[in-house]
């Protein structure tokens, strides 16, 4: 074979040998990703993080979660266990009538979207306390139907393990105190508040689980909300004022009695006081009864002489007493000290949500000190607890989720030198 004869096959071999390998497309190559640190973001938490609003959750409220907003601004993929509309359970359309935004069907749940994500980035479960993050079967767990509907019965840690997060936000602990407030039998029951020492142990165990991933480059630990300030609770002294106003308008008739025990309070500091408070269902029911009786009198259906006032008695178990409220304040303060220490130990960010929420009290109309009941001045069906709070009086509204997202963005950018754009 001549040299010329050899050239062609050798050249062809050389060309073919350059096999065109394809390549990985790691999440760091996501278009628009602000920083590689955010390549795999996972949000742990409870109902707020999951997107629970107005006592319900669906694929609209889930997308309004601050966690989803933050992920969008980070430019990172974020898979959510979407629940079909109207929800699971559906949110209130009207908290006073308890009308829902739709009929969820016989199961009370419109179920998950049948198209399942391969993995979850939003692993938060409504109702979760710290223990539930890593052990939803543990003694004293807060498991509920959404523990299975959203998390498949697995712990949030287990679901996050599919992702091996590079960045996390953790907003957990609210239910370690809120569970006591929402208890129907004895709101504020100290026995239902996770002892701060137990909280610290459980929180440390949770953080150990996060550390075990070995992939987390940064994170934000969000503190516990002072649940006693939720507009779901109305201070007894406010109810006394309402009673006085009603008495003035209807004298000599008396449609509402608010016990003097509702004025009980415990000074905590020069600026803070723990006030006995009345849960919304208790106060709302009494007010509705008073209103109905007033209507009956005005309509001639009820003799004025036979009017019996509706009663709000803060001395019984239906109220959160000032002592119970002080216990809640103390517990949450200790929780937050624990959380801040855990964040500091890792060089992570600690964000105290109370700074943000307390500022909303100063914004007109954002958080109402007394629900805007129908029949009273300035009633509201769309924002009875204020524009910052959804219709259940506990969970933030969509607008507050934006504020939370922007607060986190500001903290993350300051700490890590990133440039996550704010949510408009």
């Amino acid at each position: 074979m001549t040299r010329k004869h050899l050239i062609f096959p050798l050249a062809l071999v050389a060309a073919l040998a350059a096999c065109d390998n394809e390549s990985l497309i790691p999440p760091t190559q996501q278009a628009g990703l602000v920083d590689p640190m955010f390549a795999r973001y996972v949000a742990f938490g409870n109902s707020i993080t999951a997107g629970f609003q107005s006592a319900g959750i669906n694929d609209s409220t889930q997308l309004q979660s601050y966690a989803n907003l933050l992920a969008e601004q980070m430019g990172t993929e974020f898979n959510i266990p979407l629940l079909n509309s109207p929800g699971c359970p559906p949110p209130y359309a009207n908290v006073f009538t308890q009308e829902l935004v739709g009929d969820p069907g016989p199961l009370g749940c419109a179920l998950r979207n049948p198209t399942l994500p391969e993995h979850l980035n939003l692993v938060a479960i409504p109702g979760a306390a710290v223990l539930d993050i890593y052990n939803p079967l543990g003694a004293g767990n807060s498991s509920n139907p959404l523990t299975t509907f959203l998390g498949g019965g697995r712990s949030q840690i287990d679901n996050a393990a599919d992702v091996l997060p590079t960045f996390v936000t953790v907003w957990i602990g609210n239910n370690d105190a809120l569970g006591s407030v929402l208890d129907g039998a004895n709101p504020g029951d100290p026995a239902l508040v996770t002892p701060p020492a137990t909280f610290a142990t459980q929180y440390a165990a949770m953080m150990d689980s996060l550390d075990a991933f070995g992939t987390i480059q940064g994170g934000v630990l969000i503190g516990v909300v002072q649940v006693g300030l939720a507009p779901y609770l109305t201070q007894g002294r406010v109810w006394k004022g309402v009673e006085a106003n009603l008495d003035a308008l209807s004298a000599p008739l008396n449609f509402l009695d608010v016990s003097t025990a509702c004025l009980a309070n415990t000074p905590l500091s020069a600026t803070d006081t723990a006030w006995t408070s009345v849960p919304f269902p208790v106060g709302g029911a009494a007010l509705a009864l008073a209103s109905a009786r007033q209507d009956s009198v005005l309509g001639g259906l009820l003799s004025p002489a036979s009017v019996v006032p509706a009663v709000i008695d803060c001395a019984d178990a239906s109220a959160v007493t000032n002592t119970e409220m002080a216990n809640l304040f103390s517990a949450v303060t200790q929780y937050n000290a624990t959380i801040e220490a855990e964040a500091d130990a890792r060089g992570w960010i600690f964000v105290d949500p109370n700074d943000l929420l307390l500022s909303l009290f100063g914004t007109p109309g954002a958080i109402l000190s007394f629900p805007a009941f129908p029949g009273l001045p300035n009633p509201s069906l769309t924002a009875p607890f204020g524009t910052a709070i959804s219709l259940d009086g506990v969970h933030p509204s969509a607008s507050t989720h934006i504020l939370v997202a922007n607060a986190l963005i500001a903290a993350i950018n300051a700490k890590y030198g990133t440039s996550i754009p704010a949510v408009n």
Binding site: V13, R112, G151
Partner: protein, 458 residues
């Protein structure tokens, strides 16, 4: 359970089929260590070991008397899948697999008859059962034995023709996990377990398919020798229709989930999810049943030349084409007709080019080398754990030694380097035209092949 069974069938059957007929993927093309050592080039000039029955039936005419030959190719495959999301790599667990070949022929100057046995589709893929692609298949083995009676005739000093009939005895074993999240909840219509929250990728059953089938194919070849130093060869293997009949057997595989309180299944906290779904193995779609699939294996054509560039040196070049575009979709029939389904593959025709060098270093010692390039049949949207194939570069070398005029031994080595290929670990639902949307990582594959053939002539 409809969807998972359908996926099982759809995922499983293409493996059997593609391995049975393709010129790429996991096909074994090494059926004689002599040809293997020179890059698989054998259509224009055969080795005198009977392997021409596979490489070109016309090539068996020439040697006089009896030739009996037997050998083995050991294939040591390596590879893995790296997930885009986490960068986690899962390695194949394949063990080295011996693939035998044997030939017997008798010839005169103008005629030859013989019979060959080779296993062109005898490889497997074994992934750990923790692999995320286990729902598409994690332990798959295929053995297709070809028995080919062959005749050849040399009607003119410059022309040889030959042909044979292939009786194909195929068997396949495929194993995969079944994803609970995709299965309907008994008594809830079309509501799936996934809609109750069961995560995607939750195993609950192990499905094992054993199937077998047979088919006939025809093989033709011609060799034209215009000059003592130059040969041209062409072979054509017809398409073949194979019906694989078999059974699917399901056994429980733990979900690993213990249900928390207030779960939608209405069972106490602490109840294993396994116990909730255990009835599926007693009644319903997950009972053992028969399955079958009819498939047309594509026809293929090989043409090549061989030139003696020196008294002891021969250069060879082959071109191979496979009509893979025939494989567009695959219907599968279950005993439970409700599970019948069709998968879409949309394969592409493939081609390969092979270069070989044969140097008779002495009267009893030969050195060989070669190079092969193949394109891949699977389009970008059909690269799965079952067949993560792609373009290939292969490098070969080997030696032959004649102990006497009657006995020879050939040894060969081949390194196969496949293009790193993006692919997926999950299957599309039945009937859905696949896209690259589910591609979620990178498949890597390479193999070391060792061949040894003993030949006796008398």
């Amino acid at each position: 359970m409809r969807r998972s069974l359908v996926l099982f069938a759809l995922a499983a059957t293409p493996l059997a089929l593609t391995r049975s007929a393709q010129a790429q993927g996991f096909q074994v093309n090494e059926h004689g260590s002599c040809v293997m050592a020179r890059g698989g080039t054998g259509v224009a000039k055969s080795c005198d070991d009977g392997s021409a029955m596979f490489y070109n039936p016309a090539g068996i005419v020439g040697p006089r008397g009896w030739i009996i030959s037997a050998g083995v190719t050991v294939i040591d495959a390596n590879g893995g899948f790296t997930a885009d999301l986490t960068g986690t790599k899962t390695d194949l667990k394949n063990s080295p697999i011996p693939v035998p070949h044997a030939y017997l022929q008798y010839g005169t100057d103008k005629f030859a008859v013989g019979a060959g046995m080779f296993v062109p589709y005898g490889l497997g893929t074994t992934w750990p059962d923790t692999f995320q692609g286990k729902f598409a298949g994690y332990d798959n083995n295929l053995q297709n034995i070809y028995v080919q009676p062959t005749v050849a005739w040399k009607p003119h000093p410059m022309v040889s023709i030959g042909g044979g009939v292939d009786y194909v005895i195929g068997s396949v074993t495929l194993t995969q996990r079944v994803d609970l999240s995709e299965n309907p909840v008994p008594g809830f219509g079309t509501v799936t377990f996934g809609q109750l929250g069961v995560p995607s990728g939750t195993q609950f059953a192990d499905g094992k398919l054993d199937g077998s089938g047979s088919a006939l194919a025809a093989h033709f070849g011609v060799v034209f020798t215009p000059d003592e130093r130059f040969r041209i060869g062409v072979r054509y293997l017809t398409r073949a229709n194979i019906t694989y009949d078999g059974n699917v057997v399901f056994t429980p595989a733990s979900t690993g989930i213990t249900l928390p309180a207030e779960n939608p299944f209405g069972v106490p906290a602490g109840t294993p999810l396994d116990s909730v779904v255990s009835s599926a193995f007693v009644s319903g779609p997950l009972v053992d049943q028969t399955v079958s699939a009819k498939v047309t294996m594509p026809d293929q054509l090989t043409a090549g030349v061989a030139m003696d560039v020196a008294p002891t040196v021969t250069l060879l070049v082959d071109y191979n084409w496979v009509h893979w575009a025939l494989f567009k979709a695959l219907p599968v029939t279950f005993e439970n007709a409700a599970l019948n389904s069709t998968t879409v593959e949309n394969y592409k025709n493939t081609w390969g080019i092979r270069f070989g060098l044969d140097w008779a270093a002495s009267t009893n010692f030969t050195v060989r080398a070669g190079y092969i390039y193949h394109t891949g049949a699977a389009p970008a949207e059909a690269v799965t754990p079952l067949l993560p194939e792609g373009k290939r570069n292969e490098f070969t070398g080997g030696i032959g030694y004649a102990f006497s005029q009657r006995f020879r031994v050939e040894a060969a080595y081949q390194y196969l380097a496949q293009q790193d290929r993006r692919g997926r670990t999950a299957e599309f639902p039945s009937g859905v035209t696949p896209t690259t949307a589910l591609n979620n990582g990178l498949y890597e594959f390479n193999a070391h092949l060792f061949g040894l053939t003993l030949t006796a002539g008398f």
